[in-house]
């Protein structure tokens, strides 16, 4: 009953307990039945009258028209209502007096009880309790008003009292803000606002009350008696309105009675609700409420499953297309209901929910005993609910400002979501449905693959406590990688190639995150994903990009500078890092995105907490490029060779820094690295080290101290190499001990470094062991000789290119459209240069010949699918 009043105005959704109470009470009192049938109509009426934007009336007319046309569903309910309406009329005429009175007394008692508990709560300063009690009270009063009874003075008194104590509490709160916890504080402000609103509403009464409380009370007593008659007449009027009510309303009337009805009527209501679903003027709030009610009264598992299926679906329907995401409350209740649904199905094996079932009668009750094979099959899909829940969660995270507390609050729900997913997994494991099981495992995997261990442990902790456990769970002393491994292995075995690919990428990402660079690299290469990723969907391509980037970072953390540079280079060459990682929309300079494109792009964005920090990424990339590039720059003399830069972005930045007339102290990460590069070029390795180590962003990297130390060592070594390259022409001999002292490296390391350079013919020199010096024997080349050499190099490169082009033609026969383009990408892959050799053509073994060219197709990942402007960017 109270439900209808809530529909009339109240927005809050809890206090089902009070509802229940109400229902109980109405059960007790037979005569009260008279009222419900009529009152809803009235409340409805009042609402539409009070509504400011009342297109309601026109809607009603419309619906009337349509209901006239719609023959089938109409007649039965209409008849029922008619009959009912008639009877209620009779009853109310006779009994109304007694009824109203007793009911009112009861209500007053209730109000007083509520007021008392509010007082109690006030004493202990528990504003959460006050808030709920107050809401209850307000609802009761509203109902009172709807039966056209005056507002009881008790309520006004409470209101005034509450306002006073509120003022006190707020004042106190201001003094000691820290003491009150978050939920309490929130409740306090909520109550404050509500009181303010209500005070305005009852301004007149409050004033009168404050002037003379006793007179006010007397007045109330006298008004109560005459009110009775008008109430009855109103009932009559309402009945007339009822006839004009739309379909929507009818369900309300029946739902209200559902309290003690046979299961049959539940199905009828369900059907009506389902028919109304998706129609233009369906009140979604109303529907949800009906379904909630139905859920409470449903008895058998079958009924509950049916109602839950409808209820969850309508919760997801609730959002209009304008809103970006589901509200958190709605989401939470949907999540709870999915949980409930799963546990019903999981505990009772006599029921199963399937997407495809034989046709069955929607209106009949079914039980395992009556079915042919002892299992009731119900049409529906748990996996789609889980999918939807997860998607809505992501959507809300995409749309909430990541720097606010709301985001953090929302993020806390991930725990619940994760446990729901795990429960779903357990369910499907039990029912052995392979396809949804794989999907749900993928969902689970996606929640944990990119997270550090403690977070995964926290998520897993909730799963361990739930009653339904999936096969793979993480105990406290286990490693997360074992969990990830078992999940991934399951997915590898599944038939779905998309899931396999995604599982593989997540697995690789996880390894990379845990600094297991070699395993991650081997897996990526063995998967041959770089060959086919261009054909995958955008989300998978994004995952691929993320994986490759994480791989680069892991190489950096492991001190594998060259590998890191080669891996990260690809994505930085596109200059669209953020876009490729789905962490921001790229501003197109020459073309404007259409709104649709922009929307699609926005939907792809990852929630903030999953982002890979691009600044850190850039720092890692630039530093590793610096360490690779600066010695190379120093070693080459001719302008000709200089054009073949390893990394264009870095070279550009360096040139720009060179042109700067005045260089101030470094501010950004880039400034730091550019100045460090120049210091390295000049042989001032200490300055270079200091500059690099003072970059602030390193603190975001795990094990940052170790990384810094590693960088310092690298800088010493590369500094030595650069020094030798740069100054070799000016020396005849150079003492090794001096070098060791200058770069504070052990003599042995210096010898080894120099030996290496001599061996690989980078440096034309020899060691003199007895004197402990490096002897340079440099030959100046004539112009012709230089040209001849360059020509030879070029011819070599040409043949290599041809071989590679042919390789790709013969090797992979998939529908990869941009062969020549791929070759171009390969050329840059530094690794390829090392290991090009011809034999690679036969790609037989599991690892294939493509050990080089890692991530060569990287840029194409998104490039081929997105605006198609990759070409320009290259």
């Amino acid at each position: 009953m109270s439900r209808f009043f809530r529909a009339a105005g109240d927005s809050d959704s809890d206090s089902s307990s009070s509802e229940e109470e109400e229902l109980m009470s109405s059960d007790d009192e037979a005569p009260k039945q008279a009222a419900p049938a009529a009152k809803p109509a009235m409340s409805r009426f009042l609402k539409s009258a009070g509504d400011s934007d009342s297109d309601e009336s026109s809607d009603e007319e419309e619906s009337e028209m349509s209901s006239d046309e719609e023959e089938q569903p109409k007649p039965k309910p209409k008849l029922g209502r008619f009959v009912h309406g008639a009877s209620s009329e009779d009853e109310s005429d006779e009994d109304v007096k007694r009824v109203v009175k007793s009911a009112r007394d009861k209500r007053l008692d209730e109000m007083e009880a509520t007021g008392k508990s509010m007082d109690n709560a006030l004493k202990i300063n528990d504003w959460v309790a006050i808030s709920t009690e107050f809401d209850k009270l307000a609802r009761m009063v509203q109902r009172q008003q709807n039966v056209s009874e005056p507002v009881p003075p008790f309520y006004i008194r409470t209101l005034v009292n509450l306002e006073n104590s509120l003022n006190v509490a707020v004042a106190k709160d201001k003094e000691s803000k820290k003491k009150m916890n978050a939920s309490n504080a929130r409740a306090l402000t909520a109550v404050k606002q509500k009181v303010k609103k209500l005070l305005k509403e009852f301004e007149k009464e409050v004033k009168r009350f404050q002037e003379d409380p006793e007179a006010f009370e007397r007045e109330y007593q006298t008004t109560v008696q005459p009110e009775v008659a008008p109430a009855a007449t109103k009932v009559k009027k309402a009945k007339k309105a009822e006839e004009d009510e739309d379909e929507d309303f009818m369900t309300v009337g029946k739902g209200g009675k559902a309290v003690h009805y046979t299961p049959e009527s539940i199905f009828k209501h369900l059907q009506v609700v389902q028919e109304a679903r998706g129609k233009k003027n369906t009140d979604r709030t109303e529907q949800i409420r009906i379904l909630e009610k139905l859920l409470e009264v449903s008895v058998t598992s079958y009924q509950r499953i049916r109602v839950l299926l409808a209820l969850i679906a309508s919760r997801f329907d609730y959002n209009s297309s304008v809103a970006t995401h589901m509200s958190a409350e709605l989401w939470t209740s949907a999540q709870k209901e999915v949980d409930q649904l799963i546990s019903i199905v999981a505990t009772d094996s006599g029921y199963s929910i399937q997407e495809i079932t034989e046709d069955y009668d929607d209106l009949a009750e079914r039980a395992p005993a009556t079915e042919s094979d002892g299992v009731v099959r119900i049409r529906g899909s748990v996996i789609s609910f889980v999918d939807r829940l997860d998607d809505e969660f992501t959507k809300s995270l995409q749309n909430i400002d990541p720097h606010g507390t709301e985001y953090v609050d929302r993020l806390k729900d991930e725990k619940e979501l994760y446990s729901t997913i795990c429960r779903a997994q357990a369910l499907y494991e039990k029912t052995k449905q392979e396809d949804p099981l794989a999907r749900v495992i993928m969902r689970r995997l996606e929640h944990i693959y990119s997270k550090p261990d403690p977070v995964v442990l926290a998520l897993e902790a909730t799963v361990a406590t739930s009653d339904l456990k999936p096969s793979a769970i993480l105990s406290a002393d286990d490693k997360t990688s074992s969990l990830i491994h078992s999940l991934c292995v399951h997915l590898y075995k599944s038939g779905n190639s998309l899931l396999r690919t995604r599982a593989m990428l997540s697995h690789i990402y996880h390894f990379a995150l845990h600094n297991d660079f070699h395993t991650a690299r081997d897996m990526l290469l063995m998967s041959h994903l770089q060959d086919s990723i261009g054909n995958a969907d955008v989300a998978t391509q994004i995952l691929y990009n993320r994986t490759v980037v994480q791989l680069g970072l892991s190489a950096f953390r492991c001190g594998l500078i060259k590998e890191s540079q080669a891996t990260l280079h690809e994505i930085f060459a596109t200059q669209r890092v953020k876009e490729l990682l789905a962490q921001g929309v790229h501003q197109q300079r020459y073309q404007v995105l259409s709104p649709e494109q922009e929307k699609v792009e926005r939907q792809r964005q990852l929630p903030f907490h999953m982002h890979i920090n691009t600044e850190l990424l850039e720092a890692a990339f630039l530093v590793s490029t610096m360490l690779v590039e600066i010695p190379v720059l120093a070693s080459i003399e001719s302008e000709e060779q200089k054009r073949k830069a390893i990394s264009k972005p870095f070279r550009r930045l360096l040139d720009f820094a060179d042109r700067q007339v005045f260089t101030g102290p470094p501010e950004s990460t880039r400034d730091h690295i550019m100045q460090a590069s120049k210091a390295l070029q000049d042989g001032e390795w200490e300055k270079c080290r200091d500059l690099i180590q003072s970059i602030k962003i390193w603190s975001l990297m795990p094990e940052c101290a170790a990384v810094k130390e590693m960088l310092a060592k690298r800088i010493q070594e590369e500094g030595l190499r650069t020094y030798l390259f740069t100054y070799a022409p000016h020396y005849r001999t150079l003492s090794l001990t001096l070098l060791a002292k200058t770069f504070s490296l052990p003599l042995r390391a210096v010898t080894s470094l120099v030996s290496k350079m001599i061996w690989s013919e980078e440096l034309q020199a020899a060691l003199d062991q007895s004197a402990g010096v490096v002897v340079f024997n440099r030959v100046e080349l004539t112009r012709t000789q230089q040209l001849a050499q360059t020509l030879a190099d070029k011819v070599n490169a040409l043949v290599e290119q041809n071989e590679k082009a042919l390789d790709q033609k013969l090797g992979v026969s998939s529908g990869w459209g941009e062969r020549a383009d791929g070759g171009k990408g390969d050329k840059r892959g530094e690794q390829t240069q090392e290991r090009s050799r011809r034999g690679d053509r036969s790609r037989g073994g599991a690892r294939g010949g493509a050990r080089g060219g890692r991530g060569a197709r990287f840029a194409q990942g998104l490039g081929s699918q997105m605006a198609g402007n990759t070409q320009r960017n290259r």
Binding site: H518, A792, N796, R835, G845
Partner: protein, 460 residues
């Protein structure tokens, strides 16, 4: 040094019978307690039909116990099975060994079958009997007999699985009988058979079932790698052939993926074949060390032992002292290894050469005493060694010993520029030819290839 022993890792990739020599070797070297090895040998023999051998092993390990009675049963059963199978096989063998038949057999197997069926009433079942008998003979240790039967079977059979299986069987027989030339042939034909069973390339979009042939191929290649060790380290030409095979991309991938420990043998073979490197050999063998060092570096996280570490210290870190230390460790490892044991002195010799070569290339003036120390030789020996080295290698003209100062002076004139250009462009013509050949082999319409060409040039 037991931690560097690879027997345990290798055994899973070998046939039961191939393990016997491995264990026998272990019994000789004293890396593991003799009792353990003996027990292992017994366990191994128990499951075969070599009943007598098993019994003798049992008596060795359990001197005061009675031989379990099941051996007697087994023996009887084996004998009876043998007779039965022999009878079945003999019929076919009689026909085949008839010189007339042998002459009329042709290349085409189906035709042969038809011929045999028409004229001698020999059916497929009969031929399969050959296989069964050969297999049984193998199981009780009559390897040469088994080899014969399996050979005949293979000539006639059309069943691809059984043919491959008989290939393996024959190879095992040849290895165990020590006929290395035959075994080498067999090895090559088996390798071809495995490689030609090209699985469809597992694609990202392909259904999961196609992944399996690739996996099977990987398995057979891994096995082949292990089995071939027997052949390659016993055949006189084996080491160079090993380099050829193992460095081919498919097998290199197999090593990297499934059996990184093979790197030890690869590295040793590369060191061993240094001397012949001056001869006319394929480029792959000549540059083998460089290739292998790269692989060792790449797989260092998966596998390392003194042999690979030696190469790494020498060619990656150029730390001659550490290389020297690793070399002395490697010496023990090599001498204890079943396959490498015989090559210990060779290995040490060549490794010294490698060290001194690298040392001389980097240094201009070397103290002889220091170098001798690096090579683990006494001063006099060292001097002799160095003189030999200078005489033998190409640096003869550049290096001079100054006995007064006790140093070697090396003057290596820089490489003339024209030579380096020639070096760089060598083989380009050949490679282009190979390209052309490969292109004409594909059955794509020429138009498509023409289209690809300009794009490549553009990429320059």
């Amino acid at each position: 040094m037991a931690e560097y022993d690879l027997t345990k890792t290798i055994i899973p990739h070998c046939d039961r019978h191939l393990v016997f020599p491995l264990l026998a070797h272990l019994a000789e070297s004293d890396l593991f307690p003799v009792e353990q090895v003996q027990t292992a040998q017994y366990e191994l023999a128990k499951e075969t039909n070599m009943v007598d051998y098993a019994v003798s092993l049992f008596e060795q390990t359990h001197p005061d116990e009675h031989v379990p009675p099941e051996f007697a049963d087994k023996r009887e059963k084996a004998v009876s099975t043998n007779e039965q199978l022999q009878q079945e096989a003999q019929a076919v063998l009689d026909v085949i060994e008839n010189p007339e038949v042998a002459q009329s057999l042709r290349q085409d197997k189906n035709q042969n079958l038809q011929f045999l069926r028409d004229h001698y009433n020999v059916t497929l079942e009969h031929i399969t009997a050959l296989y069964n008998f050969g297999k049984f003979q193998y199981s009780y240790g009559n390897y040469s007999g088994a080899a014969d039967y399996l050979y005949h079977f293979r000539v006639l059979s059309t069943d691809p699985d059984l043919t491959i299986s008989s290939h393996w069987g024959k190879l095992a027989c040849d290895i165990l009988t020590g006929k290395w030339d035959v075994a080498l042939e067999e090895l090559n034909s088996l390798r071809e058979a495995i490689d030609s069973r090209a699985p469809s390339h597992p694609q990202f979009a392909a259904p999961s079932s196609t992944a399996d042939p690739a996996l099977a191929q990987l398995h057979s290649r891994t096995w082949l790698l292990h089995w071939s060790l027997f052949v390659y380290f016993n055949h006189p030409q084996g080491r160079t052939l090993l380099l050829e095979t193992f460095l081919s991309p498919t097998y290199l991938n197999t090593i990297q993926t499934s059996s990184p420990w093979i790197l030890r043998y690869l590295a040793t073979a590369a060191v061993l074949s240094r001397k012949s490197a001056s001869g006319a050999l394929s480029s792959r063998v000549r540059h083998s060390i460089r290739e292998i060092v790269k692989v060792i570096q790449m797989e260092e996280y998966q596998y390392q032992d003194p042999v690979t570490q030696f190469l790494k210290e020498l060619y990656v870190d150029f730390d001659f002292e550490a290389a020297q230390k690793e070399l002395s460790k490697a010496e023990v490892v090599v001498s204890n290894d079943f396959f490498l044991g015989d090559f210990r002195d060779d290995f040490m010799d060549n490794a010294r050469y490698l060290i001194s070569e690298a040392y001389c290339r980097i240094h201009q003036r070397i103290d002889i005493g220091d170098l001798s120390e690096r090579l683990n030789l006494s001063r006099d020996e060292g001097e002799k060694w160095i003189v030999n080295l200078i005489r033998e290698t190409r640096m003869g003209a550049d290096a001079k010993i100054d006995l007064e100062k006790n140093v070697i002076e090396i003057h290596r004139p820089p490489l003339p520029i024209y030579q380096s250009v020639i070096e760089k462009t060598r083989g380009l013509a050949f490679r282009t030819q190979a390209l052309g050949a490969a292109m004409s082999r594909t059955q794509q319409p020429p138009g498509v290839q023409d289209a690809a060409q300009p794009a490549v040039v553009e990429a320059q």
